[in-house]
Amino acid sequence: MTELRPSERELLNAFQAGEARALARAISWVENARPGFERLLSALHDRVGRAQRIGITGPPGAGKSTLIHALAQVVRGNGEQVGVVAVDPTSPFTGGALLGDRIRMTSAAGDDGVFIRSMASRGSVGGLATTSREVADLMDAFGFERVFVETVGVGQSELEIAEAADTTVVVLTPESGDSIQAMKAGLMEIADIIVVNKADRPEAARAAGELKTILRIRQGKAFDRIPAHHGVDLSEITRRKLAPGSGGEPSSTAGEAAEASGAEAKEWEIPVLLTVAQEGEGIDGLLAVLDAHFEWLGRSGVLEERRRQRLLERVRAVVDRGLRTRVWREGDGEAILERARADLESGRRTPYDVAGEILGALGPGSGKG
């Protein structure tokens, strides 16, 4: 990486001196892909990796912002510095965005120890903005102990957060119940912790119970912990069936034995917690579980593995971004496209042909593809 330019050096110095304004400006550079932003990120890279990154995701209105606000207040009370990246959607029609997550974080918003940055998704469809990860890096490098990343309100397929966060919390409400089945394939698969928020509403306990059942089915423990049913204790039957020498499948037996012999560290059992974020209920419990998960991540080696993966993924993303810049902004991509436009519209040339010319302008390919 080349030397920093004077303006970049100046910003870096202010950033390292802990000036909030410098962090804010650095985020803008990254968000706007201002020339030099990658040099800045590179210069800060060795300071990244100390914070716990907590992803907060879930459907719109589940209470994600309010939950972060409640958590931030508690950890602030413990003297921690907290960063929040809150993503809201950009309109695909106007390019504008209304970023309203701060409304739910009011008292935190007046507190210097909580740095909240609202980001518009700007065309990205994975639940985050394209640069949210790098903004989280900046907050991490700035020295925040925890960085919360709040996704846009998600449905089933906005799952980028799982790759961006150390710990992913999926926030649902008691009313999410009916859609939980549908969510199994997406949202439920990325959760490290599930929170049923607004648990003062009816049916909260039932919703939590259903969630636990779904989780157990996924873990292949569908018949565990089922109470005596029509006078028969199903869990007792399953246990007997799987016990050594009783004709149970050998693989299951091996699996159980492994679990019994302390392989527990390898498995994180996804907890389902009840909170009323608005009232601060259940927040201490959630925080304890967040800490426990982070501790487990470190102990099991999963954190290191995830971070190794993230490094590789970051290189790919930066190369992709650089290639786009090289083709469309610095290179002849747009010019070639403009020249080919009439031929394209009249059908004399195909999109594949024109794309080939644009890619060819980058230099000869390896021919491997």
Binding site: N32, S91, G96, L99, I116, R122
Partner: protein, 138 residues
């Protein structure tokens, strides 16, 4: 590829709870392609300036219907300057007599908009200000 978006903080300082106007303006700015950070009701000047710093906005737009504009605008302006945020446009609207608007503008507040202003006027004003003051320095 990277189009520089205009970022605007829309806030309601002080005690008046009438936020329809602020919401209408926020929606109009959004529809004009801007990124609008809406901070909600009952914000202190300190909270607003803190948010403006963290969000690195280009424009702070305040809605004040309580009559406290001669206190709140100067206070926000002073706090912005103290925070070293001197590149931001402070503008807004509400029930503000024209002589007060003039006084505030002398202090360094931008144009202020009264009742009956069309939202496109505010949009144009912000766009022109941005083109003149900010677009070049990024």
């Amino acid at each position: 590829m990277s189009e520089r978006k205009i970022r605007v903080l829309v806030g309601k300082p002080g005690l008046d709870g009438h936020d329809r106007g602020a919401k209408v303006v926020a929606a109009a700015l959004r529809d004009a392609g801007m990124e609008v950070i809406y901070t909600g009701l009952h914000q202190t000047p300190e909270q607003i300036v803190n948010a403006a710093v963290q969000e690195d906005v280009d424009v702070v737009a305040l809605s004040i219907l309580s009559g406290a504009h001669m206190t709140l605008f100067p206070r926000v302006l002073k706090l912005l300057q103290e925070a070293g945020v001197d590149h931001v446009l402070l503008t807004g609207g509400g029930i503000i007599p024209s002589e007060d608007m003039e006084k505030l503008q002398v202090m360094g507040v931008g144009r202020l908009f009264g009742p009956g202003t069309s939202t496109s006027e505010a949009v144009d004003y912000i766009r022109e200000w941005f083109a003149e003051h900010r677009a070049a320095d990024e």
